[in-house]
Amino acid sequence: MKASKSRGPVIIAALVLLLLILHQDNWFWTDATLVFGFIPIALFWHACISMAAVATWFLATRIAWPLSDDVEDHEGGV
């Protein structure tokens, strides 16, 4: 857990970069396929990107959160 905490910011930075690359989905630019018969594939892909963003940010709260409430108390900030 400690090792993943120290590598956490790097993992999250890599995942965000990956999301930004996947966001530019040139491969579906002119594809008119309807997923499940009703969702255009470009919309489906980007809805999946939104869900992947949720997963990435959830992981960020577990392995790369910049502060803990204990630290804030210690600093007398709260």
Partner: protein, 531 residues
């Protein structure tokens, strides 16, 4: 209740009444201090923070504009405006919100300007940022106030066609079928302003947060309900899935793909959502958090909430492109959703949708009004007169008076011929994005000097003005200001870029170069922020 426009009007009035009651109730918890009025005594937990931040960042555009843009541009608008925001907004909350919250709690800041003044050890940076931030928020406020009046008018059409002030005629002198008899925009906008003013005035940040939470729930639920009702009505099939398939198959191919959309413009739109990192009203919402852990829920759920609101609206927008010509769709794409609600559903849902759109509008307006009142008090009056000159009670009074003033100014500006203000939306966001490198550097780069930050701000604003001037030269037939893009010639091809790229580049380069050759703040000061 069968009278045209009456059910809608009643639902809108009940909704506004509920908001007033919520604002007045929250004022009973008011502790009488400036900190309580401006940042709810830093008492807001994860759920309320999520709802208030989401409600503040989503405007009427999320419901009305998204379906309108999808009608005009096709499905690509989701990737351009929604999934990009899901990634970038949470990134800003994570990288900037949490860090700035920690510093602000430690050093007692409420506004961005207080933070920049202290971090850069410069009074001038505060005086420079003050008019820029207020100037960029005002068009944003105007869009909300004007949209509110327009929505109430369009959804109460037919209410009082005999009252002269409710009548709307077109150029040929015929009654406008969509608007005639509806509540006039000046009256609708006034009511919106008064309701927001009352709950912000009495409830302060606590009232604003509660109202935002309520309003966010309202517009999310109503958006989804509207989607299912319209799908079932327009599809004309037995099951929901059959309706969805029928509607999707009727959409022209260019609207289910991005064949007409520039790839580089799509890519450079990614820079626009960075604007949330510099929104002064969002900064103030961050300050309300009870702890840094309260940010976790907003960071995680924000992209999901955007998806819930945007996917149904984009689908409705593209379905409208496949509807038969005899439905006489309105010429203005932004009225597609209200038109479909009015023609395909009953007056009750029409009234609820009006409430939902107003919810989206008001949940941004309230935070912006409160934020400008706070900036005036903290960064002008108190800063000039001295911190100990006024009591908390007096400062709450000043904040309230400034809020009244800014509501009045915004309302009177909205009465002018400012329809073109809608084109300013993306330009306001671009302006905030252009300032984004400065807040990042202030938080993460010890080498940032006051001169570097000031030069960066000047570069951002100068490039904004030059590009804006170029944008005004685009003929209205070609979309005017809102369609202005930069053309980058490369290898015999020309690539379209959003103007925000040039603005951010100029502010970043200037800020770095000037910082490298000018003295940075003292080591003691830097220790305060990086130690």
């Amino acid at each position: 209740m069968d009278h045209p426009g009456l059910p809608q009007l009643i639902i809108i009035l009940v909704y506004l009444g509920l908001l007033l009651a919520l604002g007045l109730f929250s004022s009973r918890l008011f502790k009488g201090t400036k900190e309580d009025y401006q940042v709810a005594s830093h008492s807001i937990g994860p759920f309320l923070l999520l709802m208030s931040i989401f409600g503040t960042t989503m405007t009427a555009f999320a419901l009305v504009g998204s379906s309108g843009e999808a009608f005009r541009e096709g499905v690509g608008v989701y990737g351009m405006l929604a999934s990009s925001s899901g990634i970038v907004h949470s990134l800003c909350f994570f990288l900037i919100g949490v860090k700035v919250w920690k510093l602000a709690r430690r050093h007692k800041y409420t506004t961005q300007i207080e933070f920049f003044r202290d971090r850069l050890d410069s009074d001038f940076v505060g005086y420079l940022m003050f008019p820029i931030l207020v100037g960029l928020v005002i068009p944003y406020l105007l869009i909300g106030v004007i949209s509110g009046g327009a929505v109430i008018q369009s959804l109460t059409g037919g209410l009082a066609p005999d009252l002269p002030m409710f009548q709307v005629f077109d150029a040929e002198g015929d009654a406008n079928p969509a608007l005639h008899g509806g509540v006039p925009p000046w009256l609708g906008s006034m009511v919106i302003c008064v309701v927001v003013l009352v709950y912000v005035f009495f409830g302060g940040m606590r009232g604003t947060t509660w109202a935002n939470t309520f309003q966010t729930l309202v517009f999310m639920i109503l958006g989804v309900v509207t989607f299912f009702v319209i799908a079932n009505k327009l599809g004309g099939q037995e099951s929901l899935l059959d309706n969805l398939k029928t509607l999707a198959n009727s959409v022209p191919e260019d609207k289910v793909t991005r064949s007409e959309m520039s790839k580089t413009k799509f890519f450079t739109y990614l820079f626009i959502p960075l604007s949330v990192g510099m929104f002064p009203h969002l900064f103030q919402h961050w300050m309300t958090a009870k702890s840094s852990d309260a940010f976790k829920l907003p960071v995680v759920c924000h992209p999901f909430f955007i998806m819930i609101v945007w996917v149904p609206c984009v689908l409705v927008g593209i379905w409208a492109t496949g509807l038969p010509a005899d439905m006489h769709l309105p010429a203005n794409p932004n009225t597609i959703l209200p038109f479909l609600v009015k023609t395909q559903t009953g007056p009750i849902l029409g009234g609820f949708l009006a409430a939902g759109i107003l919810a989206a509008i008001m949940s941004s307006l309230d935070s912006q009004f409160l934020c400008i009142g706070t900036i005036f008090n903290n960064d002008v009056v108190t800063h000039l007169a001295g911190k100990d000159r006024f009591s908390d009670r007096q400062q709450v009074m000043f904040t309230r008076l400034f809020i009244i003033g800014i509501v009045a100014i915004t309302y009177f500006l909205s009465l002018g011929n400012v329809r073109s203000v809608f084109a300013l939306g993306v330009w306001c966001f671009s302006g905030f994005s252009a300032l984004f490198p400065i807040v990042v550097a202030a938080l993460y780069w010890r080498g940032l000097s006051a001169a570097g930050a000031i030069s960066g701000v000047f570069a951002a604003i100068t490039s904004w003005c030059i590009l804006f001037y170029q944008g005004t030269k685009v003929p209205l037939e070609q979309g005017g200001l809102s369609k202005f893009v930069l053309e980058l010639p490369l290898g015999g091809e020309s690539y379209e870029l959003m103007p925000v790229v040039a603005m951010m580049l100029s502010s970043t380069v200037t800020m770095i170069l000037v910082s490298l050759v000018t003295p940075r703040p003292s080591e003691e000061k830097l220790e305060k922020f990086f130690g």
